[in-house]
């Protein structure tokens, strides 16, 4: 229980996807102009991260890792398929995104039309593949921790994009030097928010 809680807090604040690793920057910059769209995309990303991480965790530990195929019999124990992990992970993520897209289109058409093109593009959001690759690198103890890590990373991403969208809505009324308008000032604000989030880095739970 304690491990789950500390993984959750760490993945939201300390290892924040945007401020510590810059993952998912492209859609973060493109969609953070309006709070409502940002919230919708954040929820979709959180959902997909929470679903794909446990699947990829099980695949990593029971199929891909060196010796992971041991449950099939002793002759498979020396098989190491880890070079396939990139391909498998991205295939799982892409097919899951397709699935979510179809489900949302069928049952929540309003949300579907408000997310528009960004729903299919989640498949190429670096935060999702990054989550799976960090899971592989950190070698979590069990599937529960991996799920919580996925959920926490998603929530961290959601916090960042909603915060940024709120700041940008206000920015429309300020007088910024011309060459910095748009992209430039967004980078500076993200940097300042990142410095703010760095104060969590000493956090020990």
């Amino acid at each position: 229980m304690e491990e789950l809680l500390s993984t959750l807090v760490r993945s939201i604040f300390v290892d924040n996807m945007i401020f510590a690793y810059y993952l998912g920057m492209c859609s973060y910059l493109a969609v953070s102009k309006n709070v409502n769209t940002a919230l919708g995309l954040g929820i979709a990303v959180t959902f997909i991260l929470t679903c794909t991480l446990p699947i990829n965790y099980l695949l990593e530990n029971y199929v891909l890792k060196e010796g992971a195929l041991g449950w099939l019999g002793t002759q498979f124990e020396s098989v190491n398929l880890s070079f396939l992990s990139l391909l498998i992970f991205i295939a799982i993520i892409a097919s899951f995104t397709q699935l979510v897209e179809m489900v949302v289109e069928r049952f929540a058409p309003a949300l579907y039309s408000s997310l528009g093109i960004f729903l299919p593009l989640i498949a190429v959001n670096c935060a999702i593949l990054g989550g799976s690759l960090f899971m592989q690198q950190k070698a979590f103890a069990n599937v529960g921790v991996a799920t919580v890590y996925g959920f926490g990373s998603g929530i961290g991403w959601l916090l960042a994009i909603v915060g940024m969208a709120a700041v940008r809505e206000k920015l429309a009324y300020s007088n910024i030097p011309k060459p910095l308008r748009g992209l430039g000032i967004t980078f500076i604000i993200t940097g300042l928010m990142g410095i703010g989030f760095m104060c969590f880095s000493g956090l020990k739970i």
């Binding site: 990139l86 295939a91 060459p179």
Partner: protein, 209 residues
């Protein structure tokens, strides 16, 4: 049509400045920021991305008339993932230390927006040779930004370039201190925004309203 007609030249040179993938098209920013705390990984990353973009562009351009429209994203992802796996295995074999520093970001070339952006916008509608040049051009445009950021962050953050001490010891004796903030993640964003500032004040037509 020569191999380097003026149209092909502009395909190759456009992304270097006026149509730069990182600071104008907003593509591939994630990795541009994350790997640039030192110069060496920046150069390796730039080279890997250039190779992958160029060859993925050629392959998709050759396949462009046979891919069904509905599944094109998955086809593109598989082609890119295969190329990235090759690059990652080569790096593990010949440049293990750099590969360790780049950690997950080699794998993340797959989801680098430059790849999907160029494949969707260019390779699906153009021939292999033009696509190859477009890939090289965009890779180099991305590389230039990475190398500029890596140069300044390593110079001011550690006083070294490619691991060699550049700022003389006498400066440290006189009280010069490395700016540790440059190594930390948030400063990458601020360095990029300074590059954008300089670039856009020289090219007024690129400024946003």
């Amino acid at each position: 049509m020569g191999f380097l007609s003026s149209k092909n030249k502009s395909i190759l040179a456009g992304p270097l400045s006026k149509n730069n993938p990182v600071i104008i098209q907003m593509l591939g920013i994630c990795s541009a920021l994350a790997v640039t705390s030192k110069l060496e990984p920046s150069i390796v990353m730039a080279a890997s991305v250039t190779i992958v973009v160029a060859f993925a562009n050629v392959i998709i351009s050759l396949l462009r008339n046979t891919i069904p429209n509905r599944i094109r994203i998955i086809v593109q992802l598989v082609v890119v993932a295969a190329l990235v796996t090759i690059v990652s295995e080569v790096l593990k074999a010949f440049a293990y230390d750099v590969n360790k520093q780049l950690s997950v970001f080699v794998g993340l070339i797959i989801t680098n927006c430059i790849l999907m952006g160029r494949l969707e916008a260019f390779a699906l509608g153009n021939g292999p040779w033009a696509s190859f040049l477009d890939g090289i051009g965009n890779g180099l445009g991305y590389g230039i930004i990475l190398i500029i950021i890596g140069f300044f962050r390593e110079l001011f953050g550690s006083g070294t370039l490619l691991g060699y001490q550049v700022i003389p010891k006498i400066c440290y004796d006189l009280g010069y201190v490395n700016n540790g903030l440059m190594i930390l993640p948030p400063m990458a964003l601020i360095v990029v925004s300074i590059i954008i500032w300089v670039h856009r004040s020289r090219n007024k037509e690129l400024q946003e309203k």
